[in-house]
Assembly symmetry: C2
Homo-oligomer: 202 residues x 2
C-alpha cells in the first residue's frame, strides 16, 4: 500500500504512519479471525498476536469494526476483482454476482452480516460501516461512469444509485439467507436496471 492511500474509517496518523507495522497488524487480525472466529475476535487478541500495543491499533483503526472491515476487504480483493469487461451489462453482472459469491463463502458472509448487525446498535460499528460503504459506492460507481463515457448509459443516470440499487439487492439477500434462491435473479436485476420494465411507446 502506498503512503498516499488512506482507507476509509481509518484515522490519519500523519508522521507516525508505519506501513510495515500496519501490515503486520492486518496479518495478525486475519490470523486471529481464522483461528478464533468472529466471536473470539478482539482488538486485545490482535494486539497480543501482533505484539503491538492497543493504542497503536486504535491509532490506525478507530474501532474493531473498522479493522474487521479492512480484513474483509483484503479478502474480497484477493479473491475477486471486477475486471472491466468492456460492456456495462457484463460489468454489472460481474459486480453483482461477485458480491453474491463473496458472501456465499460462509466465513466472509458471516463477517459482513455481523458488522451490519452490530452497526444497528453500536455507533462505532455504524461509523466504520458508513465509511466503508461510502468508499465502496464511490469505487463501484466507476463501472457506470465508464459506461456513460462509452455512450452505453444515459448521462442523467446517477452512477452511485445504480450500483447502490444492485448492492442493496445483494444485501437484503444476504441478510435474509436468500443468496442461493436463483442465480437467474442476478441477471434479472441487472437487466431491469439497464432496460427498465416499462412497456415502451411503439
Amino acid at each position: 500500500m502506498s503512503e498516499a492511500e488512506v482507507k476509509p474509517g481509518r484515522r490519519s496518523i500523519g508522521a507516525q504512519r508505519n506501513p510495515a507495522s500496519e501490515e503486520a497488524i492486518l496479518k495478525a487480525a486475519e490470523a486471529v479471525l481464522l483461528e478464533n472466529g468472529l466471536s473470539g475476535f478482539s482488538i486485545e487478541a490482535v494486539a497480543r498476536r501482533a505484539r503491538a500495543g492497543k493504542p497503536t491499533i486504535y491509532r490506525w483503526w478507530p474501532s474493531k469494526a473498522a479493522l474487521l472491515l479492512d480484513v474483509y476487504h483484503n479478502h474480497k480483493q484477493t479473491h475477486f476483482s471486477y475486471a472491466d469487461k468492456g460492456n456495462v451489462r457484463d460489468d454489472l453482472i460481474a459486480y453483482l454476482s461477485g458480491l453474491f459469491t463473496v458472501w456465499r463463502n460462509p466465513a466472509t458472509g458471516a463477517l459482513f452480516r455481523s458488522v451490519v448487525a452490530e452497526a444497528q446498535a453500536d455507533p462505532d460499528t455504524a461509523a466504520a460501516l458508513a465509511a466503508y460503504m461510502a468508499d465502496r459506492r464511490c469505487q463501484s460507481s466507476e463501472i457506470v461512469k465508464k459506461a456513460q463515457a462509452r455512450g452505453e448509459v444515459r448521462a442523467d443516470a446517477d452512477p452511485e444509485i445504480v450500483t447502490e440499487l444492485l448492492a442493496s439487492f445483494a444485501w437484503s439477500r444476504l441478510l435474509t439467507d436468500r443468496l442461493n434462491v436463483n442465480d437467474g435473479d442476478i441477471v434479472a436485476a441487472v437487466d431491469m436496471v439497464l432496460a427498465g420494465i416499462a412497456v415502451r411507446a411503439a
Copy 2:
C-alpha cells in the same frame, strides 16, 4: 381479523384459535413496546400484561420476533396504505417512499432494524423475518402485476424482483442511517427500474 387469515410466522392452531385473546395479546404487546421500549420487550412482559400464559402466546407466535413483526405490521398498516394510484410510477413511488416514511419514525425504524440485526445470529428471529418478508414480497408484487394487467409493465418482468429491488434499496438506507440523504433518490430509483439506464438504439 377473519378466521381464514393466517399471518406469516404464526403457527396454525386449528380448533384452539381464539381471535379475541389473540387481539388482546397483540394490544398488550403494543403497550409493552410503547412503555418498555425494545430492550424491555419480552414474551414474559406481554404475558403478564395480557394476563395470558406464555404457552398461549407461543401457540400463536413462535418467537418474540414473530410477535414484534406483527406489532410492527399493524402499526405500518394503520399509518400507511399503498392505495392504487392507477399508474405504476406513482404506485412504486408511493410504495418506496412509504417504506422510507415508516422507517423515519424512530421507534418503527429501530424496531425493524433490531429484528434484522437479531436475525443475523438468532435462527428463530431469522425464521420470523423470512416468513414476514415472503408475505411482503407476495403482497407488494401485486403493484407490478396490476401494472402488467394494464399493459404498463412488460409481461416478462418478475413482479417480486421489481419490488424486492426497491425494498432492498430502502433496507440498505435504513441499515446505514441514510434514509434522509435525498428524497430525489426515491424517485431516481423508481425511474431507473421503470425506464432503465441504457441508451436506447435510435
